[in-house]
Amino acid sequence: AAGVIQSPRHLIKEKRETATLKCYPIPRHDTVYWYQQGPGQDPQFLISFYEKMQSDKGSIPDRFSAQQFSDYHSELNMSSLELGDSALYFCASSEDRGGDSPLHFGNGTRLTVT
């Protein structure tokens, strides 16, 4: 079965650079979520989109922005990168925002800021 696809798997950037992470949800899933997982930490919710509109916002820095496109894929844009942004970034999708529908996660993008 098709899963959530994230690209790239690994990304190395320098401080103050910009990074773009991409996420392709499971077909027919209309809701996308972004999570950040630091070393030894639990995943922290960043932001979510439903039908291309931002639906909820968590602990996402102002330096980060995201959007969902007409084909439902989403991109997380990170600017002025800091060392503390080094983390695993997971994207997840679900098919039913209004109901009890589990999130399905991609394999993540490991961002390293040097």
């Binding site: 994230q6 930490q41 995943p43 919710f45 909820d56 997971f90 925002r97 394999n107 993540g108």
Partner: protein, 113 residues
């Protein structure tokens, strides 16, 4: 403030025995609970969930129990297999959808052959 707590960072079990992973929560608004399993270098994989209107949900070797009055849930795996070795995350949401999943810090399960 950790709203979902997994107090055991690790658990070691013999193959064939029962694994019991525990999770406590503090937010009484949570009404949908999920367990995810995570292997290194992979994303969390959905395992099983339970709504607050139930106290038990079973799927094969996996059973989740919910005690709302105690704000406690547990995941039972029986019989445990070496392939079950992974980090297990408990997660919760206020319901009405799966937004803002709040995760525990995870329990690393090791099933020994």
């Amino acid at each position: 403030d950790q709203q979902v707590k997994q107090n055991s960072p690790s658990l070691s079990v013999q193959e064939g025995r029962i694994s019991i992973l525990n999770c406590d929560y503090t937010n009484s608004m949570f009404d949908y609970f999920l367990w995810y399993k995570k292997y290194p270098a992979e994303g969390p994989t959905f395992l099983i969930s339970i709504s607050s209107i139930k106290d038990k949900n079973e799927d094969g070797r996996f059973t989740v129990f919910l005690n709302k009055s105690a704000k406690h849930l547990s995941l039972h795996i029986v019989p445990s297999q070496p392939g079950d070795s992974a980090v297990y995350f408990c997660a919760a949401t206020p319901g009405g959808g799966s937004e803002k999943l709040v995760f525990g810090k995870g329990t690393k399960l090791t099933v020994n052959p």
